[in-house]
């Protein structure tokens, strides 16, 4: 056994390696991207196939293929990734896996690195019936990943490991076993459409099998050591906490010196119902500590009706549903329900200029944003995910809307169809390959005419410089086909296309003016390498 300080995401890698992972796919996002980045570096010697897929759906589908062929797989993505891959995720619950699969989904309460929504991906458990484990710290990131593969193997189900920023980007001491290097495994797809095909009427049988499986996993969860009780079991005050909230709860108990017992849930789904029922039987007061939506609280209210209807249950009435929690929030809540005194620290008010995210020095976007603003001040401008999000902030303040990956073109088509206004859709190269193409095809097909500007900085920059299909390199550094955005657009039926270097401001300006007058969709590809990447390449 080794003992080192590890980042939560690195601990997930160690856990997957010791479980014998063969196949890693996914799409980079914050706070999960380090998983795929690091795997790309070590994949060869560890005998693991690693890819950055074009999006989370193709990533999950690749892993499904691997699982059906007998390879152990790990899929990694940020919160919103599970929305993108959900179309493949739900049938996967029905067919089940062949070789085990763990899907890492990293949520970002407080939206430190996320626009879009403060998503609580735990809800997918109800939609898909896939087990979800929630680690609180790097040690549990390691342990639960390993356990995730074991559960997956035992029950032929994918297992979701749901982290949050404060677990994924937490460093702490981890005891782990270092996996030996191995040869890359060649799997074999053994035909079995009875399992792998969801064609009706088989699908309803599969649903029945799935629900029976969930019951078995629930019984397993009741006995699992990752659901554990800490402190005086006889205490009349109980706390139920999951994931990172457990650490805040323990600190709150220490702050107030309260004698309470804590049920720490490692399983979010299925819940260990018997364990919970036994835990709450003798309690007078119960505090449920979970971030964001009160999913566990609702379940416990239901369970309590049967075993302890007089139990006073506190949850979102004393803890916020918005933003991540902290030890102080839990201390305040606990003090309130136990009648203890606790004075919250008052943050002093000082008025200082705010330093928001900004473009790096020498970033090609410095040429793009001001030019667009000057040339088309009246245009409706759609922003998209990635470094171009910074275009929405001062001094650029360029975006009129910002949604999800690839949405800028889709929505601009709708605006264009509904108005007589000029519309510009901005998008990065990574996002274009992720999900921009589908929106572009819809725009051409339905005869709309926004101007699309792809900010091609030759890499997926925001999430830490991952290669994408426009670069001619795979995540493991192998040469591959270099896809050209302009050629794809041409094949999609775009008639007006210009590829230029945005440093040539006059040419860029003229093209914007010209293309905004077109009756068909037009595309400008602003091609200039990310300044950080250029510097790094120079150093090498």
């Amino acid at each position: 056994m080794k003992k080192e300080i590890l980042l939560g995401n690195d601990a997930i890698i160690k856990g997957a390696l010791i479980a014998g992972v063969d196949f890693v796919s996914g799409y980079p996002g914050c706070p999960s991207a380090e998983i795929g980045d690091e795997f790309a570096k070590i994949g060869k010697e560890k005998g693991v196939y690693v890819e950055w897929s074009t999006n989370e759906k193709t990533g999950l589908e690749a892993a499904i293929g691997a699982s059906f062929s007998g390879l152990k797989s790990l899929v990694n993505m940020k919160s919103f990734g599970i929305n993108v891959c959900s179309d493949a995720l739900l049938p996967l619950a029905y067919t089940g896996t062949k070789a085990p699969m763990v899907i890492v989904v990293a949520d970002d309460p407080s939206c430190w690195s996320s626009a879009q929504s403060e998503q609580n991906s735990r809800a997918y458990a109800y939609l898909s019936h896939i087990p979800i484990l929630e680690p609180a710290d790097p040690q549990e990131c390691y342990d639960y990943t390993k356990l995730g593969f074991e559960i997956s193997e035992k029950f032929n189900t994918p297992v979701i490991l749901r982290t949050v920023t404060r677990a994924a980007h937490q460093r702490a001491i981890v005891e782990f076993e270092e996996a030996k290097n191995k040869e890359k495994k060649i799997g074999e797809f053994i035909k079995n459409p009875h399992q792998f095909s969801t064609m009706p009427p088989r699908i309803l049988e599969q649903k029945k099998e799935l629900l029976e499986k969930v019951k078995k996993i629930s019984a397993f969860a009741d006995k699992s050591k990752i659901n554990k009780i800490i402190g005086d079991k006889k205490s009349k005050i109980g706390i139920i906490a999951s994931g990172i909230s457990f650490l805040y709860s323990m600190e709150a108990l220490e702050n107030l010196q309260i004698n309470a017992s804590v049920l720490k849930l490692g399983f979010f789904y299925p819940l260990p119902e018997k364990l919970i029922a036994n835990f709450i039987k003798g309690k007078n007061k119960l505090l449920i500590v979970e971030e964001l939506d009160p999913y566990i609280e609702k379940e416990i209210i239901r369970i309590a009706k049967g075993v302890n209807p007089k139990l006073k249950i506190y949850g979102k009435e004393v803890l916020s549903e918005i933003g991540e929690l902290g030890a102080e929030d839990v201390t305040v809540a606990l003090a309130k329900i136990t009648g203890k005194n606790f004075k919250k620290f008052t943050v002093k008010k000082i008025d200082l200029p705010k330093r928001t995210a900004r473009l790096c020095e020498g970033c090609p976007y410095w040429y793009i944003f001001p030019t667009i603003k000057r040339v088309a001040p009246e245009a409706i401008i759609g922003g998209d995910i990635g470094c171009n999000m910074i275009g929405g902030l001062a001094p650029h303040s360029l975006h009129d809307y910002l949604f999800c990956m690839g949405a800028s073109i889709g929505i601009s088509h709708g605006v264009k169809k509904s108005t007589n206004q000029k519309v510009i859709s901005l998008m990065g190269d990574g996002t274009f390959f992720h999900s921009g193409i589908a929106g572009l095809i819809n725009t051409v097909y339905n005869k709309s005419n926004p101007l699309m500007i792809v900010l091609d900085n030759r890499i997926t920059a925001m999430t830490g410089h991952q290669p994408n299909p426009g670069m001619g390199k795979t995540s493991m550094g192998e040469d591959t086909e270099e896809l050209k955005i302009e050629e794809i657009a041409k094949a999609c039926g775009v008639k007006h296309i210009k590829v230029l270097d945005p440093i040539n401001i006059q040419e860029f300006e003229n093209t914007i003016k010209e293309f905004l007058e077109k009756n068909e969709v037009s595309l400008i590809v602003c091609k200039r390498i990310c300044a950080l990447l250029a510097r790094r390449q120079k150093q090498q």
Binding site: W112, Q170, L247, R358
Partner: protein, 189 residues
């Protein structure tokens, strides 16, 4: 020992996380329980970066509650000033005399004026300048500040532990430079 709470902040790209992991490794070498929290991605792009680290017998939350920091190391002055909003009476400040300007930001003088009357222990050290002059490298100012904190007993870590941590964590080609930067403030003491 009661848990020691350290906040390291600055601007994205200054080496906040490198310093954070070095402090973590040093505390680990001394046998403490360690826990830290950091941010990547959008929050790192030239914005304010705030990281937390706690070490002692047993740590729980990776985040330090408001008012509980024992020491705040700021790699940038305005970011240091920003921390005064949630520092406790006992919080010591170690601030790099360096400003990373942006539209609407404050000058060194303006920041210094705002620090006037601030009752906490405050060390303003020209780490970036000193490292640039003496080592021809500004990036190691982070290690210089750690050396300063250890040499002035602002942080309960032994010199040897940090040197061990540098040995363990810093790639060989940068090791000597880092050790030099770390040792510098001991000589000025």
């Amino acid at each position: 020992m009661k848990n020691f709470n350290l906040i390291i902040n600055g601007v994205g790209g200054q080496g906040v996380i490198t310093l954070l992991s070095l402090v973590g490794e040093s505390a680990f070498v001394e046998g403490y329980d360690v826990r830290s929290s950091e941010l990547h991605g959008l929050s790192q792009r030239g914005g304010s970066v705030e990281t937390h680290i706690r070490f002692g017998e047993k740590t729980y939350s990776p985040l330090i509650p408001n008012g509980k920091a024992d020491l705040i190391i700021s790699l940038e002055m305005l970011e240091g000033l920003r921390e005064t909003a949630k520092s406790g009476k006992h919080t010591t400040f170690l601030v790099n005399e360096f400003v990373s300007p942006f539209i609407g930001s404050l000058t060194v003088e303006e920041i210094k004026n705002q620090f006037e009357g601030f009752k906490n222990v405050l060390h303003v050290v020209a780490a970036s300048k000193i490292c640039k002059e003496k080592l021809q490298n500004e990036v190691v100012s982070t290690i210089y500040l750690l050396g300063y904190a250890v040499s002035r007993n602002l942080i309960p870590l032994k010199k040897e532990s940090v040197l061990r941590a540098i040995e363990n964590k810093v790639p060989e080609k940068y090791r000597e430079l880092n050790i030099k930067a770390f040792n510098l403030p001991f000589n000025d003491n």
